[in-house]
């Protein structure tokens, strides 16, 4: 069943479309992550769903019901703000209990639920602490507990881990996914961090300039970026103009093998760094311009004799030094033809 459906949603700020005829559906219990650079309209999307922002056109349906005219406080959604927005004058328990109180829950029921949620987010017994004293990670957990407490139909997260440091972020994203799975929560999150999106989501929606550029499972999107915009946003730099003839695309880098059945004619191709192979029999001569360590491998920046620079991923042991002259070839399975 579809929990959230957006139809043809449009929002303009001063004539500029921030959301441009967006269609999106989130199924019950599904975790959807909207991924896009800043200014792509992600946050506006959440605000429209929450009723904090008006849309010029289109519809928001929650549980099949059109939300036109339903004020924010009656939409029964949860929203975790980027900087948490904990109530500074209340302690931790007061923050978590807020939504329950608004729904008129009894004192005992509220206390029990607050304790349960604090356990759930890993802050047992922290109810009496003032929120000013919490660390960033703790604030994030309290914000999560507060959003979950009233049992929203849809939980929305705005850059949920944005302000945390890297190691904490990587740990928490796994915790979050496990938690949402266990609770069966329907989640719509927005982030600009692809790692976060891919780790958290069942489905990723890439947005650019107010439009949905691509939607699919993390693997699909990662393997088959639908456009140069998506490719570049995912961090792929090796994009070049090409003309396809049979199984080969002609480029400034020389011939690049393309999957069989690719339509003939002009297009652009992406070669993922893993498909750029350094080998003595490669047809393209390059000079190594730089190296970047990525933990278990090295990305080597190559400057060919003609055409734009390109990245190659290689094992630590075989990565060439900066300034070395190498030759490269392309592997067909890592080539993606873009429209």
């Amino acid at each position: 069943m579809t929990m959230l459906r957006l139809e043809d949603l449009t929002v303009r700020f001063g004539g500029q479309a921030v959301l441009d005829a967006v269609d999106l559906a989130v199924g019950e219990g599904e975790i959807v992550c909207v991924l896009g650079p800043s200014g792509s309209g992600k946050s506006t999307l959440l605000r429209v769903v929450a009723g904090l922002q008006r849309a010029e056109a289109g519809r928001v349906l929650l549980g099949g019901r059109d939300q036109d005219g339903v004020p924010t406080h009656r939409r029964e959604v949860g929203l975790m703000f980027q900087d948490h927005q904990l109530f500074p004058q209340r302690d931790v328990a007061g923050n978590v209990a807020f939504g329950l109180r608004m729904r008129g829950a009894g004192r005992a029921e509220t206390a029990a639920r607050v304790a349960e949620l604090l356990d759930l987010v890993g802050l047992p017994g922290a109810g009496a602490r003032p929120v000013r004293e919490l660390s960033g990670g703790e604030q994030q957990r309290v914000a999560l507990a507060r959003a979950l407490a009233p049992g929203p139909r849809l939980l929305m997260l705005d850059e949920p881990l944005g302000q945390l440091d890297r190691s904490l972020r990587e740990r928490l994203v796994v915790e979050l996914r496990t938690l949402f799975r266990r609770l069966g929560t329907t989640v719509l999150a927005v982030t600009h961090d692809q790692g976060e999106a891919f780790a958290l989501a069942d489905r990723v929606v890439v947005m650019g300039e107010g439009r949905i550029a691509q939607a699919g499972t993390p693997l699909e999107v990662w393997r088959r970026p639908a456009s140069e915009f998506v490719a570049r946003f995912l961090g792929f730099e090796n994009v070049v103009a090409a003309t396809v003839r049979g199984a080969v695309a002609e480029t400034v880098w020389g011939p690049v093998p393309v999957p069989s059945g690719t339509a003939e004619g002009a297009c652009r191709v992406l070669v993922r760094p893993g498909g750029v192979r350094i080998a003595p029999d490669g047809h393209l001569a390059c000079v190594v311009a730089g190296r970047t360590f990525r933990g278990d491998h090295v990305v080597v920046r190559l400057r060919p004799e003609g055409g734009p620079e390109l990245d190659a991923a290689c094992a630590l042991a075989v990565a060439p030094e900066v300034g070395a002259s190498v030759r490269v070839g392309f592997a067909a399975e890592d080539v993606v033809v873009l429209p």
């Binding site: 605000r47 929450a50 009723g51 904090l52 008006r54 849309a55 010029e56 056109a57 289109g58 519809r59 928001v60 059109d66 939300q67 036109d68 005219g69 004020p71 924010t72 406080h73 009656r74 939409r75 029964e76 959604v77 949860g78 929203l79 703000f81 900087d83 927005q85 109530f87 500074p88 004058q89 807020f98 939504g99 608004m102 729904r103 507060r146 959003a147 009233p150």
Partner: protein
């Protein structure tokens, strides 16, 4: 999904504005329009020719010129004297700071009848300046200007100092590190941040001095008259309503221009400021310059504010035969002054407190709702509304009082014999203070905090109660204290309103002063001292609140 939401938020705003609007329409606009209309309309015909007649009268032109330039000069002088004070109160720590801050605020709420006569003891014949250097300033324009500084010192110290104390000193430090000299860092970083507060304070001082009444009469002597004095004479003494009406319109126009200029200044320099806890920005004076500044400011405050007040107290204690408390004891008995009052003067304290409490309640309700409405959106409509709320400060008390008389004269509006009229008139003056105090704090509350509450299921009303109210608690307390003190000392509107006979403190003081005899004069001084102490106590309680409750945002007062 567009229009209903928009309509609803507009409806909420209108709903919040409805009561303040109704209040102002009924108790300000309607009475003032009624009295002005009566002046300008004769036999059902608008007599607009009168406008020209009055405006071209050279005597009126002289009054207008004097009113304007003395207000400008008073404002400049007040800023000059009080800005260093604002710095010292904001950034330096010294013992007795809280008490002194309360003391310098006392003149602001003291009735001019009382303060004016005390001020004479400083500047007049045989006054301190006369004894020390043979300088006499009474019946000169200097007396008026200095008295205006005396009355408005606190406006600048509180408005500017309040914000200054919360400016993050690290911003100035950052500029210093980048190579700016101390003065340059102040000019480029701190001054722009302070501009809205300085503009706001200057506007208020200008408004108060532009409409100055008692000070000009008592200290300036008969050669000086402001627009306000002229309106009073034309209305209350000569019953020349057409002239009074034209002058009222002129005053409105002037105040309107002022408010517009103010709004522009503030808007242009409006920026999100980094505000910090004032407790962390103040420090003990360091170096000779800061000590000198501190001493200078304390000396000025002592001479300008404390000495006149001390004279009052000293005279109240100078009973016959060296009996220091004789006048105070006399206040307690209805037989005081051989029966000047049907009630004991001390009962006036009770009356005053009751009126002031009622006026504060009304001002808080009306001003609070207005501030809440103004927080929601700063559109043109809202700005107009903001300005409307300030208008009573620039309107002659006699105009309002006489307006009440002829406008609120039929049931169900016939309030002329109701005690409510006095607190209502006082609340008119209190509301702008409440709005000015609460608005900056409300605007400083992060809008997303409200959104967070809404998403969690809080209705707009609930959001206000759960999010805004706790955060603005201190501002509410400060606003309440100001409204309370202002209504406690309010004299003009109270005397011009026909009302049942239960005199307030200032009215009782004026009544005592209007009779000959040693005992009555001493009692007037004693009662003034009581009024002063009540005001100071109210303000000191505020100081405590200020210290105890920690919230963000700066008050404009």
């Amino acid at each position: 999904m567009t229009t209903p939401t928009r309509r609803r938020s507009a409806a909420v705003r209108l709903g919040l504005m409805a009561l303040p609007l109704a209040f102002f329409a009924l108790f300000f606009a309607y009475p003032v329009a009624a009295i002005t209309g009566r002046g300008l309309k004769e036999d059902g015909q608008w007599q607009l020719g009168r406008v020209g007649d009055v405006l071209t009268d050279p005597a009126i032109g002289h009054v207008l010129w004097f009113t304007t330039w003395q207000a400008a000069a008073s404002t400049a002088l007040t800023l000059l004297v009080a800005l260093p004070g604002a710095y010292v109160f904001a950034r330096l720590d010294f013992p007795g700071k809280g008490v002194l801050r309360a003391v310098v605020t006392v003149p602001f709420v003291l009735p001019t009848v009382v303060a004016g006569s005390a001020f004479l003891a400083l500047l007049g014949r045989g006054g301190l300046l006369d004894q020390l250097w043979g300088v006499r300033l009474d019946t000169t324009v200097w007396a008026i200007l200095l008295a205006h500084v005396f009355f408005n010192y606190a406006v600048v110290v509180r408005t500017v100092g309040g914000l200054w104390a919360q400016l993050d000193p690290r911003q100035e430090e950052a500029a210093r590190v980048l190579g700016a000299s101390r003065l340059r860092a102040w000019r480029t970083v701190t001054l722009p941040a302070l501009t809205p507060a300085v503009a706001s304070a200057a506007l208020m001082v200008f408004l108060f001095t532009f409409t100055s009444f008692g000070v000009v009469q008592i200290l300036g002597g008969p050669r000086y008259a402001t627009l306000e004095v002229e309106i009073y004479q034309q209305t209350a003494q000569l019953l020349d309503l057409p002239t009074a009406a034209v002058l009222t319109l002129v005053q409105f126009a002037a105040v309107g221009v002022l408010l517009a200029v103010h709004a522009r200044t503030v808007r242009r320099s409006e920026a999100t400021l980094r505000l910090v806890d004032p407790a962390h920005t103040a420090h003990r004076p360091r170096g000779a310059a800061q000590w000198a500044l501190l001493c200078g400011v304390l000396g000025t405050a002592l001479l300008l504010v404390v000495v006149p007040l001390a004279v009052l107290v000293q005279r109240s204690l100078d009973g016959p035969g060296g009996d220091a408390l004789a006048f105070y004891r006399a206040l307690g008995s209805a037989e005081s002054g051989g029966g000047t009052f049907t009630v004991a003067p001390l009962e006036a304290v009770g009356n005053s407190l009751e009126y002031a409490l009622a006026a504060t309640a009304v001002a808080l309700l009306v001003g609070g709702l207005a501030a809440a409405a103004l927080t929601r959106r700063a559109g043109r409509l809202a700005r107009g509304f903001d300005a409307l709320l300030m208008l009573p400060l620039g309107t002659s008390a006699v105009t309002v009082g006489f307006g009440f008389l002829i406008a609120l004269d039929e049931p169900p509006l016939d309030l002329r014999s109701s005690w409510l009229l006095v607190p209502l008139a006082q609340a008119l003056v209190g509301v702008p203070f409440v709005v000015r105090t609460m608005l900056p704090v409300l605007r400083a509350v992060d809008a997303r905090l409200r959104e967070a509450a809404a998403v969690l299921g809080a209705s707009p009303l609930r959001v206000w109660r759960e999010v805004d109210l706790p955060l603005v608690g201190r501002a509410v307390a400060v606003a309440a204290g100001f409204a309370f003190a202002v209504s406690l000392g309010e004299f003009g509107a109270t005397v011009f309103i026909a009302r049942p006979d239960s005199p307030t403190l200032p009215v009782a003081v004026a009544r005592l002063l209007a009779r000959p005899g040693e005992s009555t004069y001493g009692q007037a001084m004693a009662l003034s001292t009581v009024l002063m102490l009540v005001c100071a106590a109210a303000l000191l309680v505020l100081e405590r609140v200020r210290v105890r409750v920690r919230t963000d945002g700066g008050s404009e007062w």
